[in-house]
Symmetry: C2
Subunit: 222 residues, 2 copies
Amino acid sequence: MSDSAKAAAGKRFTVDTEGLDWRRREPVPLPTTLVAAKRAFYERGFHGTSIRDIASRAGVSLPTLYYHHDNKLGILVELLEAAMTSVLAWVGAAIEEGRTPSEKLSNAIESIVLHMTSDLELASVASEFRHLDPEDPRREPYIAMRTETENMLADVIQAGLDSGEFRFDQDVKDVLRYLFGACQAVTTWYRPSGARTPAEVAASYASIALRVVGAQDTNNND
Amino acid sequence: MSDSAKAAAGKRFTVDTEGLDWRRREPVPLPTTLVAAKRAFYERGFHGTSIRDIASRAGVSLPTLYYHHDNKLGILVELLEAAMTSVLAWVGAAIEEGRTPSEKLSNAIESIVLHMTSDLELASVASEFRHLDPEDPRREPYIAMRTETENMLADVIQAGLDSGEFRFDQDVKDVLRYLFGACQAVTTWYRPSGARTPAEVAASYASIALRVVGAQDTNNND
C-alpha cells in the first residue's frame, strides 16, 4: 500500500491484534501531545481547549507542537483516527473469534464497550466529531473506518436475520444506531472508580444487545 | 410550598401537562437569554461559550444578563432544570396513560425520545452536567428530578418483572442506564432534516426498549 493510500485509508495509526486477546485492552498508545490533547478535550471540550493548553499540558513549546501537528482541528482529527483505528481492529478480531451471529455480535459489543471503558478520554473524543466542518476532507478517513466498522456489524446482524437467529422489525441501520448509541453513552456515566468493572459492563451490554436484535437463543452454547 | 422549598425541589420552571397530549411536543418555552445560552452551549460547548457570547446572542447587555442570572454556571443550572422539569412532567403523563407495564414503558421511552428530538439543543445540555462541581449545591434540584424520573421508570420495570411480563438477568438499575443512554445518544445523531420523523424514532426506540426488558408480548393488544 502506498503512503498516500495509507493516509487515505486513515492508517496513520495501526493496531496489530494478531495473537492478542481483544478482551485485554489498554489505553491506545499515543504520543505525549495527543495524550495531553485527549485529556484537555475530555475535561474542557474541544472549544474550551486552546492549542496553548495542549502544549502546556504536554510540556512542549508551541513551535514544537506545531512542528508535529497542523492545529487544534488537526489534533482532533488525529485523535478521532487513533480511536477509530483501534475500534476497527479490535472489533474485527472480536467478530473473527465468534462462530455464530450471536457470538459475533456479542463479542463485537463487548469489544466496543471495552474501548469506552479502557480509554474513556479517547473514546469521548467521538462526541467532538461534529465540530469538523462537513466539507473538511480530513473527516474522510475517520468516516471510512466508522463505516467499515458499521458494515462489519451490519453483516453480522443481517446474517443473524437471514438464518432466523435474530428477529426484529426495524431497519438494520436503525438497530445499529441504537446499539452504537447505547455503547457510546457508556462514556457519559462510566467511571473507573465505579461499582462495575469494565468486563462486567461489557458482558452486560453484550447480553442486552442480543435482546435488542431479538436473538432467539441468548445462551452461548459453549 | 415555600419559595425555598420550591427552589429546593427545582420547580422554578413548571410544566402543566393536564389535558395535553404528551406526544405533541414543542421546544420548552424559555426566556430569550436561556434560548441564546442553549444554542451557544450546543454549538460550542459549555467551556467554549463565554457569558459575553450569550449576552450578544440574546441581544442584551452584560449588566442585564447578570441582573437575571448568576453567571455561566448558573445559566447551565437553569437550563438543566428546565430540561429535567419537562422530562419529569411529560414522562409522568406518558406513564399515567399506559395500562400495563409494557404500555407504560413504551410510552415513557417515546416521551423521552420526543424530548430529545423536539428540543435537541436543550436536551444536549445534559451532557454538560459533568462541568458542575460535585460539591455545588445547585446540582441538587436537577439530581432530585432525574432520580424521580429514574424511579418512575424503575417502578414500571419492577412491576413488569413481578408480573412476569418482563424477563432479564441484569439489575434494574443497569437496564435503566442502558435505556437512558440509548435515548440520550439520540441527540448525537438526530437532525431535524434527517430521514426519520421524531414520531418514527420515538416509536422505534419504544419497541426496542420492550425487547431490552425481555417483554414477553411486545404487541400492544389494543
